[in-house]
Amino acid sequence: MTAIAMHSAALAKRSLIKTMRTPEALIDVTIQPVIFLLLFTYLFGGAISGDRHEYLQLLLPGMLAQSLAMGGVALGQNLNADIEKGVFDRFRSLPISRAAPLVGAVCADVVRYLSVCVSLLLFGTIMGFRVETGFLPALGAVALSIGFGLCFCWISVWVGMMVRTSGAVQGIMFLLVLPLTFGSPVFVPTDTLPGWLQAFVAVNPITPLVKAIRGLLVGGPVAGPLGTTLLWMAGLLVVFVPLALRAYSRRA
């Protein structure tokens, strides 16, 4: 058990070195969420909410959820590329746990998810966003976002193990992430949606996540959506970690 932790740490360090060396690979977790934030606030904010500040207060917690769900896409792509290049053949010929390369890569992704939280909260604050709860709940919102990102990214890892090219990882993941994040209360109040779409919103895991983060940042019920979100996170891990590991072992 300690061996797998040490090996994963060594491999996480590898991923971090790679991230440092290619800072442009952080665009999707820094500039991109900020652009979305600007776009929605100033372009749609007035139309949707009537009041830009009020919209920003609702939008920013939702953007956290969306950006975290998208943040894991690059991970699956990178792992897929690593396998294609043969880097993982070396790891597989070493006496380490098969899980270590994947666990290490996922752990290193924390840096990316933290970047999402920092850039959104920083730019949000400049644009007028205000935390209405307190420091600790806000910290809780960041922790929940990162925690969700760490669970959700295993889908991307699994897809990365299954498909042949890293481009396909992105295609498939966007096909999943876009409906999940747009079919949720991230951008709009859901009471104007048609019934079938409301039914989708109700079972969408992003919905309780957005509600919980909103509760933690700007006030509102937290316990209920938080519980549901934690259940979803556990479910994602239980299903996709074994799937990803199996796919990794099988991949020749």
Binding site: K18, R21, S93, L94, A100
Partner: protein, 324 residues
């Protein structure tokens, strides 16, 4: 005898979709020797190495590396082996040192020991100056060396090299051969796959010839040459269009169990055909036959076989494919 075999595989079979990559491969390598696995592209060499290096489970068969069952105890086998894959599997974003330290850490060396081992190997492979540069700035030869260094971090008993010199220029290739010889001198056993007959001849104590997922010969380089027959007859028609006729006539004088083929001796121009023959009487038969068919030749020679000819005779090259 058996305990002296550091690699032993029996009846390995592996199918990928409709391709039978391994079709009952038996392999054995004596401790402290170099075994050359020779074969054309797609013969199954890489698949065999991947099975032995625990990267791939065969559909059937058994394999033992350093006496350990590859299928039952892959983890223990991984402690004994070093693998250098067909394409350099170094991490391009990491520096030379970082690549090697990572492998050391994964082999449970302490940070300091991993560092020391990395420096040692980098110096040995003449990469000290580039040690702190990302591997993506390395030349092809440097990457190969770093890749090989990475497979030696754990001082493995058995080293698998999958086409270690493919794509290297001749000087770099000889450097690589030097490294292999040094490893063997220090007690390691090396299994290397290659498409270069010259390489197998230069390095290997024994050669296994693989084609279509089967071992078609296993012998010493000299033994292989002897097995195929004493001599080879090479004929180059003045008109390349007459090659099919030459092949047909050569088949008539071929040593038993062999067939004529296009001559692919390294360094020779294309357009010649050759065949193993059992005695120089073949020459006496061939000359009148060529004359009778009106085939003019610019070259006609009888010589001792090269490994090329051995190989081509054994694999029974499909002539029609190459003529089309």
């Amino acid at each position: 005898m058996t305990e002296d075999l550091v690699v032993r595989a029996e009846g390995l079979r592996k199918r990928f979709g409709s391709t039978q990559a391994l079709d009952g491969v038996d392999l054995s390598m004596r401790r402290g020797t170099v075994l050359g696995v020779l074969g054309p592209n797609g013969a199954g060499k890489t698949t065999a190495v991947r099975v032995l290096a625990t990267l791939l489970r065969p559909d059937e068969g058994r394999a033992f590396v350093a006496g350990i069952d590859v299928l039952k105890n892959p983890r223990q086998v991984r402690r004994k082996i070093g693998l250098t894959g067909q394409y350099a599997s170094v991490d391009e974003d990491l520096t030379g040192v970082q690549n090697l330290v990572l492998i050391g850490r994964l082999l449970d060396l302490s940070g300091r020991d991993a560092r020391r081992r990395a420096d040692e190997l980098l110096e040995w492979f003449d990469l000290s100056e580039a040690a702190r540069r990302p591997a993506k700035t390395y030349s092809g030869g440097m990457r190969r060396r770093l890749d090989l260094a990475a497979s030696l971090v754990g001082q493995p008993e058995v080293i698998f090299l999958d086409e270690p010199t493919t794509g290297l220029d001749p000087a770099k290739r000889e450097d690589m051969w030097g490294v292999v010889r040094t490893q063997v001198a220090s007690g390691a056993s090396v299994l290397l796959t290659t498409q270069y007959l010259e390489e197998a001849d230069a390095l290997a104590d024994e050669i296994v010839v693989v084609n279509h997922g089967r071992v078609i010969a296993h012998d010493t380089p000299d033994g292989l040459k002897r097995k195929v027959g004493g001599q080879t007859l090479r004929v180059r028609p003045a008109d390349p269009a007459r090659l099919p006729d030459v092949l047909r006539l050569l088949d008539v004088v071929a040593a038993p169990g062999t067939a004529a083929g296009l001559d692919e001796t390294a360094g020779s121009r294309p357009g010649a055909a050759s065949v193993p023959v059992s005695s120089d009487e073949a020459l006496d038969k061939l000359i009148p036959a060529l004359r009778a068919d009106g085939v003019e030749v610019t070259e006609l020679a009888l010589h001792l076989p090269s490994l090329d000819e051995v190989f081509h005779a054994l694999t029974g090259r499909v002539r029609t494919e190459e003529l089309v």
